[in-house]
């Protein structure tokens, strides 16, 4: 029909898609200089840390479809590795990659046995590993055991430095996620999520691919734990290794939109803000809220917030193209597209 106009529209949308994240990043860099107070800065810092873990979890849980309940292990290990390194005199900016590498190495050890299991059995195994590591860390003498571990730095504390570190980490996580999604690796992961056996008989090596996705996810989560530890300056096992942390890391991408690029980012932002706003006044209320969020997502919009927004945009578009909501039902092609989630999972 009106093909040229359509194509121009698509290109305009393409440019917007590429430019919007950069504009957002620019705005976030500028925010602290535009009068954002220390509380706001802290809120955003925490949100960035959550974004990195949420995007990381999504590599394994969203792309490869392996829902792990044990990501607190990597978060906690990253926090402790970074803490020990910084106290040992290593530059913090070297300590964060070390934290990521340590967590990735641990992920291979954990993945070797647990990836022999599938679906719920894998999930249960990850809970077991995570709880075991927490108990070990609680009783480990040289990290202070249950009484925690303090980081002492010779350098003065600069909140903006932490803000920038966390922002770089979150942006890196999103970048990694985009690159993986568009690569051969990402295609293989999604094939595994859809049907592991069919993927294998098409030439994908599911075991190796799951291990690598696990390692990449653990590296991001570990680095995030490290960045958080340096900011907090004090960590203890029931905090960073908490089962609640594992659940939080998995809730964020689900609320935001599992298997998408931006869903985990949106989910982390919601999670961070809700937690920070409620935890002081009602310490346990945010847990109830996540529960409600989770039920709503599972019942009404498995695509999460991103899925909901996309569906609404499609509805608006359709209404505009077909002369308002009164005109007849949408053409069958679009009904089909909505029913099948080929597009829904893309972004």
């Amino acid at each position: 029909m009106k093909l040229p106009a359509d194509r121009a529209g698509r290109r305009r949308r393409g440019i917007f898609r590429a430019a919007a994240p950069l504009l957002l990043l620019g705005a976030l860099i500028a925010l602290p200089f535009a009068g954002l107070g220390p509380n706001g800065t802290r809120l955003l810092f925490v949100t960035y840390v959550w974004i990195a873990t949420s995007v990381g979890w999504n590599l394994l849980g969203g792309f490869a479809g392996q829902a792990s309940f044990g990501f607190a292990v990597f978060y906690g290990l990253g926090a402790y590795i970074a803490a020990l390194s910084i106290n040992g005199g290593i530059n913090p900016y070297l300590a964060f990659p070390l934290a990521g590498a340590g967590a990735a190495a641990a992920s291979l050890l954990i993945g070797l046995p647990t990836f022999r299991l599938r679906g719920p059995y894998f999930a249960i195994a990850t809970i077991g590993v995570s709880e075991a590591v927490r108990v070990v860390m609680t009783n480990l003498e040289f990290t202070g055991g249950a009484s925690g571990y303090r980081i002492t730095e010779a350098r003065p504390f600069h909140q903006l430095e932490h803000y920038a570190t966390a922002l770089v980490l979150a942006a890196t996580a999103v970048g990694v996620s985009i690159v993986i999604r568009r690569s051969k690796f990402g295609l293989g992961l999604i094939a595994i999520r859809e049907d592991e056996d069919a993927a294998a008989s098409t030439g994908v090596n599911p075991f190796a691919y799951k291990l690598w996705a696990h390692a990449a996810a653990a590296a991001l989560t570990g680095a995030a734990g490290g960045v958080f530890a340096r900011y907090a300056a004090f960590i203890y096992p029931p905090g960073v290794f908490a089962f609640q942390t594992s659940v939080g890391i998995l809730l964020m991408p689900i609320i935001g939109g599992i298997g998408t690029i931006w869903g985990p980012v949106v989910g982390a932002a919601v999670y961070g803000v809700v937690q920070e706003e409620l935890i002081a006044r009602f310490p346990q209320l945010h847990l109830l809220l996540y529960g409600i969020f989770l039920i709503l997502v599972i019942l009404f919009e498995p695509g999460g917030i991103v899925g909901l927004v996309r569906r609404s945009l499609q509805r608006i578009e359709r209404a505009r193209r077909h002369g308002g909501p009164n005109s007849a039902s949408p053409p069958p092609e679009q009904v089909l597209r909505r029913a099948g989630s080929a597009e829904g999972r893309q972004l």
Partner: protein
Amino acid sequence: MIGPNGAGKTTLFSIIAGSLAPTSGAVAFRGRDVTGVKPFEAVRAGIARTHQIVRPFKSMTVLENVEVGVRFGRNKVRGSAAVRQEAEKALELVGIAHAANTSAANLCVGDQKRLELARTLAAQPELLLCDEVCSGLTENEMLSVLELLCRIRQLGTTIVFIEHNLKAILSICDRILVLNFGQKLAEGPPGEIQNDPSVIEAYIGKTVVAEMERER
């Protein structure tokens, strides 16, 4: 490959393609021992299978499904444009190029079977194992799938396929293997198998043979 239900046809396929490890015996392909290899290793060795019940990657488009075969099979093309081109070629061969950008979940059964074939072919196997590609298809769909198999054979791929429709088998197969309770009952050209008394006893049935005689 023919045989009664439960004869072990699909099991044999799974063993050859690496989905199952054999408890005894060996699998050799082109002078190489491929006993108990992993499925993805079998694909790299040149053996690929389709599944009896189609298994498309549902959240992907038809084209993306085939791209998985191109990227993870024996095809050496690099770069997304070249990969897409190869995938489009495979879709064209099986006749569903028009559906390239629809969701794989929305195809009808016949086209899903074609997609399964295209995805497997995209891995460029030397040996293609087709597990009941015709089941659940109408007479016309079946004929066109058989035609497609003939075309694939002409392109130089060896095909072993499991099928129950005797007419289909007798019309296009060079050799037939009959399996019964995990044992090889007979093997040979169609004419020979058709008249083998033990095969008639175990699988074809006397009435069918009589019917076919009458038709002739």
